[in-house]
Subunit: 347 residues, 2 copies
């Protein structure tokens, strides 16, 4: 059957994104010929119940991808670097959720709602890269603004949830909050997943530092936005911050455009044009989503839409989305759905 | 003795800022001739122990300011609007911690480390305004950058603590976190001080909404920065967000300058010139303060200092300070200290 009804392997099936991917495939009725769950040696052999069947998790080290049409990878960058080429050489199409291939010129970086048309063609590398969880929601919103105004610049500050650090990130948030409530001492509560205890705190750096003084997370928002939006000159500057939220990344985005903006209502109407976007806007009223409210949603949620007071070609919005779904697993599934739909069209 | 050794009244003595003000006066050895604690009818009559003496809280409604040299007000904007004119007409110099007089042209808006020289002259209105807690730390940092480069623009996103909502704000944060841990349902945990439950959440709006779509808090950062820095054309655009932190406001600040910036090290050296500023910077290493670490400090703490990658005249910093102290009570005490010091010089 091939890509019309693919044989699927999920590498990293026991992690936070892998779990969400499995849930989403059921929810969305993603049709597959066969499913195999794959993970590192540590998790191999575990039994996972899924959709009424029991699966034994396979060991990635000796997994054979020659019977796989689509392999989802979400096991971290080093694992993808090593094993995605194995999978593609054995004939699988890889949809990779890590940073390993995002800036590779032979691997498209895809947000289906923005540049999904690329998926008609099998990528030269055999890998389709899934963007960073902070880039996806912003790209989806500004894509609509770019079409109308021409996007020139974005200044982004993030408010990222513990789940961005995986299941251990969530555990560590709960542990540090619990320790503080029990002991009253935040600094002793440091559990280790983040560089500082996250409970009742904010940590203004995510991922490793680069020579520029920016972090890798901040650089991703710049480089990936340019690639996805096909705006190689776009100016993007970001500051990435972890906040004590369980799940749901929020971002405050200031943007500048080529053309002048008429009003906040005009911005809101443009953003409403996007697929699967919920807009919180009613004139000058203060309306917005919060991560507690939208965690679990398949939509991108946008509020606090306003035109700048001093510049005619500038504005703000606040975007919140479920980082495990919209920012990771859902985007990956939507890539697969689109690949399969294109394959069926061609038959 | 007059202002050389003033008779002091603290209006709002039983609130979060009032408590902090009393602590700071002791810590800093602020010399006064007499002290009176004043509050609304609800708190009047309460006994407050302070520095080995017991004080009975007076009722603001019938308080006589004619024996007061300096009256600190931190009881909310409506109270200041009504009673500060009473105090000044009875001869007191008012140091007001609310929004009531900040944009009044006859009332200077003072951050002693930035524009303290204004305090040599008694203000025409009799009121010295203490800026907003989000404005003070940013103004102190960018003042140093403005002297060297000429400041053109700031884009600010805030990460503001529950204590900015007073003692009830802190209680509400604890209550909503407790409710979530016990019940597992964040949305039922809404305690009322903030528009949404704050535990494990972020709320992207502070203070009332304006016709511009910005909130009053965001407008304050623009208007107050211009007044304090004496830069009436300065472009400032802000987004104010409440985060589930007990105490300590953080802000991510992107700035643009007239002159080009040589390096992050140069920015860091300039910021180090500021009074009572702690700078976290060592080449390209990722260094920063967090609110948990600096809550309780009398300093402004600055990290994540970097030059922009794409613009020669732009950069970022992350600033954290104790909003009850640096952002409110400490600035008020430092205003009083400077007023008294100038008065002693003149004798």
């Amino acid at each position: 059957m091939g890509l019309q009804k693919p044989r699927v392997a999920i590498v990293g099936a026991t992690g936070a994104v892998g779990n969400t991917l499995l849930d989403l495939m059921t929810e969305r009725g993603f049709e597959f010929e066969s499913l195999e769950l794959v993970a590192s040696a540590r998790s191999a052999g575990r039994k996972v119940a899924y959709s009424g069947e029991e699966y034994t998790v396979c060991n990635l080290e000796n997994f054979d991808f020659s019977n796989t049409d689509i392999a989802f990878f979400s096991c971290g960058t080093p694992v993808s670097k090593r094993y995605a080429p194995v999978a593609t050489s054995q004939g699988a199409l890889v949809i990779d959720n890590t940073n390993a291939f995002r800036m590779d010129k032979d691997s498209p970086l895809v947000v289906p709602q923005v540049n999904g048309k690329i998926l008609r063609k099998r990528p030269r590398s055999g890998v389709i890269a899934n963007p960073n969880c902070s880039t996806i929601p912003v790209a989806r919103v500004v894509h609509e603004l770019d079409k109308a105004y021409g996007l020139k610049k974005m200044i982004v500050s993030t408010y990222q949830a513990a789940s961005g650090g995986g299941l251990t990130g969530i555990e560590d948030l709960h542990k540090s909050v619990g320790d503080i409530l029990n002991e009253g001492k935040a600094e002793d509560a440091h559990a280790g997943r983040f560089p500082e205890p996250l409970g009742y705190n904010v940590i203004p750096a995510i991922d490793v530092g680069l020579e520029t003084g920016f972090t890798l997370e901040e650089q991703k928002i710049l480089q990936e936005s340019r690639k996805i939006l096909e705006l190689p000159e776009l100016k993007v500057s970001a500051h990435a911050v972890r906040v004590p939220v369980v799940n749901g990344h929020s971002e405050s985005v200031y943007f500048e455009t080529e053309k002048d903006i008429a009003s906040a209502d005009e911005i809101a109407d443009l953003i409403r044009n996007g697929e699967e976007v919920e807009v919180y806007h009613q004139g000058a009223e203060i309306r917005y989503p919060t991560p507690v409210k939208v965690s679990g949603s398949d939509f991108v949620h946008v509020g606090r839409i306003r035109k700048d007071r001093l510049e005619q070609n500038a504005g703000w919005f606040w975007v919140v989305s479920d980082n495990l779904k919209v920012g990771a697993a859902l985007n990956a599934v939507q890539i697969a759905e689109k690949v399969c739909a294109f394959a069926r069209e061609e038959v």
